[in-house]
């Protein structure tokens, strides 16, 4: 039976990995059709020359960086507060935000922003996207940091307090340094989900805040374009490095 199982596993892993592998291979194809005509970097050159892609990439980076800093800070503090004493409504809200379909979160935020704009003179833009990303990333950060806190020995903090540290000092000098691998791993996670998000972003982005996934979506919709293969391959490799780094940190 185990031979059949291994054989099956090969097939299942092929199903999970071949589509992206094939995409990557054909991003180096010199032809614009799906017949292999030789190795070439044409589509990478085209991707780098595309100013729209360039601007969208910069936008995505800025949004992901801002969302990462804000969500990691708020989420880490939140996990710490919940570790001291739980809060039913915060845990429930986080859990709900995690299981709510993306499309529902997207339209709820859109409705909220529109409603706000009636009273405040602001428009959809980078800030609305960043806030949206911070919101849906919070639960990820709390989950990762809370998992680390579960194995953290509270007596270390008590010792610091007994020795005259204030509570904040105990947090910053004793607890936080030991949470750092989990915090960095959470930050990487936020960066990935923020950089990658399409559904929510496309609903709350303004004209000046088009992100990379939005441009890729538009290109994919318009028809076949090997440039999308090239840029997709770069994203998969880039995110892949971050994912593996994050997994390593969490295992520590």
């Amino acid at each position: 039976m185990s031979r059949w199982l291994s054989l099956y596993a090969v097939g299942a892993y092929a199903f999970l990995h071949l589509p992206l592998a094939v995409l990557a291979v054909f991003s180096f194809n010199s032809s614009r059709f799906t017949t292999w005509e030789g190795f070439s970097l044409t589509w990478y050159r085209a991707a780098f020359a595309d100013t729209q892609l360039g601007e969208a990439t910069i936008n995505s980076f800025l949004i992901a960086l801002a969302a990462t800093v804000l969500a990691t800070a708020a989420g880490t503090l939140c996990a710490y507060g919940l570790w001291k004493r739980g809060s039913k409504w915060i845990t429930t809200s986080l859990y709900l935000s995690l299981v709510t379909p993306e499309i529902v979160i997207g339209i709820a935020l859109l409705a909220f922003y529109q409603w706000m704009f009636r009273y405040l003179r602001i428009q959809l833009g980078m800030h609305t996207v960043i806030l949206a990303h911070v919101m849906f990333s919070l639960a990820y950060v709390v989950t990762v940091v809370a998992a680390r806190l579960r194995t953290f020995d509270a007596s270390q903090e008590e010792a610091a307090l007994d020795l005259g540290a204030t509570e904040w000092q105990a947090f910053f000098h004793v607890t936080l340094p030991q949470l750092l691998p989990a915090v960095i791993s959470a930050a990487l996670l936020v960066f990935i989900v923020s950089f990658d998000d399409f559904v929510i972003t496309s609903l709350v982005a303004g004209v000046d805040s088009e992100t990379l996934p939005m441009v890729i979506y538009a290109m994919a919709r318009r028809g076949f374009n090997p440039t999308v293969n090239a840029i997709s391959t770069l994203i998969v490799v880039g995110l892949g490095v971050l994912i593996v780094a994050g997994e390593r940190l969490r295992e520590k």
Binding site: L20, P101, A220
Partner: protein, 276 residues
């Protein structure tokens, strides 16, 4: 003691109130309103938006979403269980094989969906290869149909099935299998009469996760499906963009949200919240 806790919870609590609870409350209130003259919402309160869910046109989309999610979940159980079994029996390379399931899962969902467009389109790799081999004359219509949507859903959410099943397999008492073998059970008998029944909690948890993910799917039916395969998520998006019927879109969102919560309830009750 509680001072620090209050300040630590304040930023996240504030963000959740402002950007999650209030927006959801707004959507809830919109679902009882009437469509305004310019596409906004207007005052007269009504249940009509909920009644419209039973309009055959929309009802068929709701039913389709439930059915598609069900089929995709079934396929994920059939594909995910043996894969989880393989990983749990792979000895020292367990983490590596588990990683092979997790890594593509975190990679860009959009790119992964696009990869299937690349494979399935008329001039895509599968059709080009089959034509070159002379198996088919005309390209097979692989994209923009229920088949493509199903492939995309299974591909996208299979890891949700593998992970919970794997973790129940890991907790399985191996001596039960040894006892079965000693008493003369063949490996397949032991698998179906011991392993599978004991993995029920994992299979259930995985099924709920896959089912709710499929139910809320937007990108997969949008890119891989055609006009005849749209699901609730697409209908919601459509009401908030092109159709500009926010109250109806809000009612649809709430139904979707309630369905997801109802499905999760048994898992939460079991204390199997998994992530939080």
């Amino acid at each position: 003691m509680s001072r620090v806790r209050t300040w630590a919870l304040a930023p996240a609590g504030g963000l959740l109130i402002l950007l999650f609870l209030i927006p959801m409350a707004i959507v809830t209130s919109y679902s009882w309103m009437t469509r305004g003259p310019y596409g906004g919402v207007a005052a007269p309160l009504t249940w009509e938006n909920y009644a419209r869910l039973f309009d055959p046109l929309y009802f068929s989309i709701l039913i389709r979403s439930l059915v598609y999610a069900g089929i995709a979940t079934g396929i994920c159980v059939l594909m995910g269980f043996p894969l989880a079994l393989f990983i749990s029996r792979s000895g020292g390379r367990k983490n590596f094989y588990l990683g092979l399931v997790i890594v593509p899962f975190w990679t860009s969902f959009l790119v992964r969906t696009y990869a299937w467009m690349f494979l399935l389109r008329d001039t895509g790799l599968i059709n080009t290869a089959l034509q070159a081999l002379g198996v088919i004359g005309e390209p097979l219509p692989l994209l923009y149909n229920p088949f493509a949507v199903m492939v995309g859903l299974v591909y996208g959410y299979l890891p949700f099935m593998v992970l919970p099943i794997f973790s129940t397999l890991e907790r399985l008492d191996r001596s039960l299998l040894e006892a079965a073998a000693d008493l003369g059970a063949r490996p397949l008998d032991a698998l179906f009469r011991i392993t599978v029944p004991l993995c029920k909690p994992g299979i259930l948890a995985g099924s709920v996760l896959v089912y709710i993910s499929c139910l809320g799917a937007y990108l997969t039916p949008d890119l891989l499906g055609g006009g005849k395969t749209i699901m609730i998520g697409n209908l919601v998006q459509n009401q908030f963009t092109t159709a500009r019927d926010w109250p109806f879109g809000a009612a649809l969102s709430l139904i979707l949200m309630l369905a997801v919560m109802a499905l999760l309830l048994p898992l939460v009750r079991r204390g199997n919240e998994g992530l939080l």
